[in-house]
């Protein structure tokens, strides 16, 4: 027999109260855990996927849409820009590196991206199997794409139009050939199919522009064919790309380059960092409401624990007096009651964290958040604070009952009738 066992026994004799209180507090903690995990993983994803990209240049339109489509592959592109104009930006003295990309069809909802090998380097991608693409219609699959599609190196597939997984018509005659599969990176690279830009051009040259991506207003602007002076532009056809991912040579470019592009060209420059911050603040409003809800849960749990301990103490005043009769000091009674609150809190914290992680894992597995691969095996340091908060709530709720226990007068209680 010791004081912890005693506290446990006292809780165990009131199973209904105990379970109810643990559940109430655990639900509050689970809700906050859920929010923290979701928020942290969303931020992680947003930041990881825009790492090394200082500026995105694309067709005029919404900056958020430009970033969502060309960095996160979570929206359709605004339109296209002429390769020639993009090349001029790429050669600008403030630009360290520029990666062009032509967004094309999709494979089971995963975007097929025509780009250069630099795009793989940008996310630190490595080949897991096979090799990188070399010529048109060769494709490399991101880790998730390979897993979901089950495609292996050496197999062929046909893309379908747009971002939607089905419904679009398939380019049956033009089959992509899988030449490589990438290792997982935890970035957007896992969720794309990479190919030569030429593949995208080849596929869409043969047909009239039914693809919405290639039927945007920017097209007519470049329709006036320039002279046949570029190697890329065989037979005089102007080449379009969807976006240019830029990293700055110097921090000074932050001020100069976007202004230059937005003012002097027919293109749009947008900063992933700024748009990500804007997106997070929009999401943040929703999260705040959840947070308030969780706070209410935790406060009511604290009150409920208090009421439970307080009423239990009224019934147990004889127990406390007997314990003093048997030689217990006042302080020991104080700790015994406080410990009951703490035990409740620790159980709730453990259960709450487990539920939070479990729900996030479940959401990830069932694909409730497309484009954001959630996992429950993800820990944030604030969870320790959350556990502390729970213990604090338990201790606070037990404080007044514990003080009452401390004040127990043996003789008067024992002779009560």
């Amino acid at each position: 027999m010791n004081i912890v066992k005693l506290a446990y026994k006292q809780l165990a004799t009131r199973p209904l109260h105990t379970i109810l209180n643990v559940l109430l507090l655990a639900l509050g903690i689970a809700t906050i855990t859920l929010l923290m995990l979701f928020n942290a993983q969303l931020q992680d994803k947003l930041l990881n996927s825009s790492k090394g990209i200082d500026l995105v240049v694309g067709a005029k339109g919404s900056p958020l849409q430009l970033i969502l489509s060309s960095v996160y592959h979570a929206d359709i592109p605004n339109g296209n820009i002429p390769l020639k104009e993009a090349d001029q930006i790429a050669k600008h003295r403030l630009v360290a590196k520029a990666i062009p990309m032509a967004l094309g069809d999709n494979l089971m909802g995963f975007r097929i991206v025509g780009t250069t090998h630099d795009y793989v380097g940008l996310y630190g991608g490595e080949i897991a199997e096979g090799q990188l693409w070399k010529v048109s219609m060769e494709a490399v699959l991101g880790a998730n794409v390979a897993k979901k599609s089950g495609l292996k190196v050496g197999q062929n597939f046909a893309g379908s139009h747009g971002l939607a997984g089905n419904g679009g018509h398939e380019h049956d005659d033009n089959q992509y050939h899988v030449v490589g599969i990438l290792k997982p990176t935890g970035t957007v690279l896992d969720d794309v199919v990479l190919t030569e830009m030429q593949s995208v051009w080849d596929l869409h040259e043969s047909e009239t522009t039914t693809n919405p991506v290639f039927a945007q207003p920017s097209k007519p602007a470049t329709a006036a064919k320039p002279a046949n002076d570029d190697d890329d532009e065989e037979e005089g056809k102007p080449r379009d790309i969807t976006a240019l991912l830029i990293s700055y040579k110097t921090p000074l470019a932050v001020l100069a380059l976007p202004r230059h592009i937005n003012a002097n060209t027919n293109m749009l420059a947008a900063s992933p960092a700024m748009e990500a911050a804007r997106l997070l603040s929009i999401v943040g409003f929703g999260l705040d409401a959840f947070r308030a809800f969780a706070a209410i849960l935790i406060i009511s749990a604290g009150l409920s624990v208090f009421v439970a301990l307080y009423t239990a103490l009224k019934e147990r005043r004889f127990d406390l007096a007997v314990m003093r009769m048997l030689g217990s000091s006042r302080f020991r009674l104080f700790t015994a009651v406080l410990l009951e609150g703490l035990l409740l809190a620790v159980a709730s914290a453990a259960l709450g964290l487990a539920i939070g992680h479990g729900v996030v894992e479940l959401a990830g597995r069932t694909g409730m958040t497309p484009g954001l691969a959630l996992t429950g095996r993800y820990w944030v340091p604030q969870e320790a604070l959350l556990a502390l908060l729970a213990v604090g709530v338990g201790a606070f709720a037990a404080l007044i009952p514990a003080i009452q226990a401390y004040r127990t007068e043996i003789a008067t209680v024992l002779s009560e009738r």
């Binding site: 027999m1 006292q10 004889f318 314990m323 003093r324 009769m325 048997l326 217990s328 003789a411 002779s415």
Partner: protein, 217 residues
């Protein structure tokens, strides 16, 4: 075993109860008698170190209780005194055996399951060790309460009205048990009772008078 000197107690606002200068020798058994309200329970509480008297001195097992610090008094109570309260007050959330373990633990004595088994066996309730108090009869509960009072081998065993609500045979049996167990651990025994049946069993008795002030109050 105890010596009282000009001991008086007054409950907040109530009348003062004064106690004669009684002395009980070590190992002695005595009865504390007196009408209801005369202060029997009050005296047991003072001698048991559970109530601070208003004035006067109580020396128990050679120790002047006033001179003990709060912590030392708690320890003294746990290791030197065994009390069987009038309402037995077994702890409902614990089994019979655990109630006795708690007594050892709270008195800062080492765990001793053999001692618990031995005491429960002596009192004939060993097979009830895993039961909870609400699963016991009144007589069984009383035996367990006596077991709890003697498990730490106290020097002074106190019992408050142990025979109230018992028939003649049961009352005799309980007094026998208390005397036997006190003798076994070498404890002095003080039983508070206004039960005439008890008087015939224990020779030595202290008699409290009806309190003068009580009557007029």
């Amino acid at each position: 075993m105890f010596a009282l000197k000009q001991l008086r107690h007054r409950y907040g606002g109530g009348a003062e109860i004064s106690f004669p200068d009684w002395v009980l020798d070590a190992g002695g058994h005595a009865l504390l008698v007196g009408p209801s309200g005369s202060g029997k329970t009050t005296l047991l509480s003072i001698v048991g170190g559970m109530l601070q008297p208003t004035s006067g001195q109580a020396i128990v097992a050679g120790q002047d209780l006033r001179q003990l610090s709060a912590g030392a008094l708690d320890r003294f109570r746990g290791q030197t005194i065994g009390l069987v309260p009038q309402k037995l007050h077994l702890i409902a959330s614990l089994t019979v055996a655990e109630n006795l373990q708690l007594a050892q633990y709270l008195a800062h004595l080492p765990k001793n399951p053999q001692r618990i088994h031995e005491v429960l066996t002596r009192l004939g309730v060993a097979e009830l060790a895993q039961r909870r108090p609400h699963q016991l009869s009144g007589g069984q509960s009383q035996r367990v309460a006596i077991a709890r009072a003697v498990v730490n081998k106290p020097k002074l065993l106190l019992a408050d009205e142990p025979t109230a609500n018992l028939d003649d045979d049961a009352a005799t049996a309980v007094i026998d048990l208390l005397e036997r167990e006190a003798g076994e651990v070498g404890a002095s025994l003080l039983i508070a009772s206004h039960d005439g049946r008890v008087k015939s069993r224990i020779g030595h008795s202290f008699a409290l008078q009806r309190q003068q002030a009580e009557e007029t109050a």
